[in-house]
């Protein structure tokens, strides 16, 4: 059975905890505290350490889902959790002040996860704010990071089908990259030299 550790990252209020609760087949471990920073996100609670859930995809893939705190002041948790991770679902809140900028900032912060496995962007609350569009996110990614291939979706984190699609896309990307790296590594040196 293959195992994947996937992070759910992104700014405060993007829907990370909700997404994990939607996906997880086990009771989610939550570490929420009363939110005193209502200017950043107008919600009652915020994750201060991690969320944890599990899901099995197909017959063989067990995926451990870790939600990280969205605020920079908890970046030590980012470092701890990304050590074991293979990929990240990067959630951004479409009605935030600068969702594209936040996406790029998180992508920079978690660049090593992209290198190790993959990243998928999932924009939430597009029903509240129609822009930026998927094309806007993709254009910004292409301009700033032409070397990266990052799928972009709009999602409702409460919708299981949508979140499963996002997660399966990420897992498929990770597994394809692993296969590619394995096959590249097994090529004879002389072939590589040609």
């Amino acid at each position: 059975m293959a195992e994947h550790v996937i992070l759910f990252g992104g700014p405060m209020g993007a829907g990370k905890t909700t997404a994990i609760e939607t996906l997880s087949e086990t009771e989610v471990v939550r570490t929420e505290a009363a939110n005193t920073d209502r200017e950043t996100a107008d919600k009652d609670t915020t994750t201060v350490a991690l969320d944890y859930g599990e899901i099995t995809l197909g017959d063989t893939d067990k995926v451990r889902l870790y939600g990280i705190p969205g605020q920079q002041r908890f970046d030590f948790m980012w470092s701890i959790l990304k050590e074991r991770a293979k990929g990240m679902v990067l959630l951004v809140n479409n009605d935030a002040a600068d969702p594209v900028g936040e996406m790029l900032a998180f992508l920079d912060e978690f660049r090593d996860l992209y290198d190790r496995g993959g990243v998928v962007v999932a924009a939430t609350r597009s029903d509240v704010s129609a822009t930026p569009t998927v094309a806007d996110y993709s254009a910004a990614l292409t301009e700033r990071r032409p070397d990266l291939v990052v799928p972009v979706f709009t999602v409702d984190p409460r919708e299981e089908d949508q979140m499963r699609t996002v997660l399966m896309t990420l897992v498929a990307n990770i597994e394809m990259r692993e296969m590619f790296l394995t096959s590249t590594a097994s090529q004879p040196t002389s072939a590589a030299a040609r």
């Binding site: 570490t31 929420e32 505290a33 009363a34 005193t36 920073d37 201060v48 350490a49 705190p69 908890f74």
Partner: protein
């Protein structure tokens, strides 16, 4: 609109008073801080020993994780967090009845039991001081009320 503890000057002053009183009775206290549940520092003493914001964030995460573990294994609510190391220990506990946590770093000059005892007393002192605050005036505008509704 309620006032967050770290933005309330009265809470900051009462917290500093409680921390200084703890330092007076414990020679092994190196650093102590009150912080909000979500990791904002309310007040700390003394200055310069520790990165105050980082300590508050880490203490918040540790507190939440300890409470998650206690929930998971069904042992009731978490009372203390103790990190015991070669050259000292960190003790954390909640201020009863408030969304505020005490985090205190002690060296190894005194026993863990003494550190626990003074930390507990400190948290209780802040809780008592907050309870003794004058009641809010019902007709006063929210931003002038004496007792925040956090």
């Amino acid at each position: 609109m309620s006032v967050a503890p770290h933005l309330d000057p009265v809470v900051v002053d009462l917290g500093r008073e409680a921390l200084l009183a703890m330092g007076d009775v414990s020679r092994s206290l190196v650093y102590a801080s009150f912080l909000t549940d979500d990791g904002f520092e309310v007040v700390h003493v003394p200055d310069g020993k520790v990165d105050a914001n980082r300590f508050a964030s880490m203490a918040s995460s540790i507190q939440a994780l300890s409470e998650a573990v206690a929930r998971e294994v069904r042992i009731g609510s978490s009372e203390y967090v103790i990190i015991a190391s070669q050259k000292g220990h960190v003790i954390q506990l909640r201020v009863p009845g408030h969304p505020v946590v005490l985090g205190a770093l002690f060296d190894d000059d005194e026993t863990l039991g003494k550190a626990l005892s003074v930390a507990r007393r400190c948290a209780q002192q802040l809780a008592a001081s907050l309870a003794d605050r004058p009641a809010a005036q019902p007709d006063a505008p929210a931003d002038q009320q004496a007792v925040p509704a956090y």
